[in-house]
Subunit: 229 residues, 2 copies
Amino acid sequence: MPHTYQFARPALTVDIVVFGLDEDDLQVMLIQRDLPPFEGEWALPGGFVHVEETLEEAARRELVEETGLKDIYLEQLYTFGAVERDPRERVVTVAYYALVNLEGHDVQASTDARNAAWFPVSDLPKLAFDHQQILDAAHARLRGKVRYQPIGFELLPDRFTLRQLQRLYEVILDRELDKRNFRKKVLAMEIVKETNEIEKDVAHRAAKLYRFDKRTYDRLMKQGFNFEI
Amino acid sequence: MPHTYQFARPALTVDIVVFGLDEDDLQVMLIQRDLPPFEGEWALPGGFVHVEETLEEAARRELVEETGLKDIYLEQLYTFGAVERDPRERVVTVAYYALVNLEGHDVQASTDARNAAWFPVSDLPKLAFDHQQILDAAHARLRGKVRYQPIGFELLPDRFTLRQLQRLYEVILDRELDKRNFRKKVLAMEIVKETNEIEKDVAHRAAKLYRFDKRTYDRLMKQGFNFEI
DNA sequence: TTCCTTAGTGTGTGTTCGACACCAATATGG
DNA sequence: CCATATTGGTGTCGAACACACACTAAGGAA
């Protein structure tokens, strides 16, 4: 069923940078390509935008198809339109980034006959197309955003310890933070609430579990704040 | 010369929100449409992306064609992809925003047989398509960005007074700032340099003219800073 | 020369940032 | 059961910064 237009049109795709938090690493979900070009190389999940779906719908659809991930935090990153970024033809891609916590979501590493896997951002394989550039942009955005928005909670399980939250920030910012100052700051902005529960099955003193205060969280998410920790 | 593809493709356009600074208002450049749909209504400058040009090239080309503006500060804003945003067919648009100073650039209000004009953001006509939404997003971005990047200098002439700079910030942030604290802060970050010149033709004490220190400016532009004034 | 308008300048107070060290609780292993 | 290893949890002090605030200086206009 061919479609004809008066002027040539670039193809339009979405690509998604999915960040996940491991015990001590920031990870990214990659797909091994089973078709040329770049056959066998690793690439970001993504695909063509259908005419009857929005960009975000396309991103969510591709995520489910290729990785099984759904109902996750997703945000538009940037649109990449270099003329030669795909060797076959002109392809413009709208990049999104996603945050998931590796414990909560059931990640089917392989669906759609493709090979999917997590890689630590600090040790990535060579990526197809300009996907390294897209990933760098997403990482930079994450680092920048964390300073003025309470982003990143999506990377943690529902109940978490303050230590986990701190490590999240340390991994994203790539530097160590002072424990006392961190706790002071986080508690002061009232973004988390103590629960009655404590950690289980740890070989040391168990930490209290916290959860976000959704109200404060959403408010700060909108108006921004200053997290120069 | 028709072009045929196996699957239907959305059309791809760029739209540009051009901000300019008047004596006391933040303004936006709009184009009056001479074709349906929305014939006669005002819209953002923009147009189709050609297959052999990048997105930014398309934005700059359309700006020259429709407003005569060139060599200006331009930054990608967001990509809008709602299915029904154009009543004719599926059109995805990559929005950019631009900053110019109204004194420096020779703005041909009308080129390309179209009617172009500046409007204060506080008093806009009804806009075609979803352009009001795009404009709101650009305005929000400008307000947000001004807090952590020395953006906005592009809105001023080459030499300017600190009073002008302050009014720029006041207009963007939409609140009054303390003169002494403002000057203290701006001078402390060494982003501007005093010149030997002073204002001319003013009916009161003439102010010193300043210009940016390009080195500091570019550095802060990259690494960001904190402008919670 | 008087008046009007904007330019230009400094201090003090409260708040926040950032550096820094020790005891508490629990599991493990001898 | 005692020792040890590991992480949890807490407070203070000095420095830097944010913010509120009011008067004199300069120049043109009437």
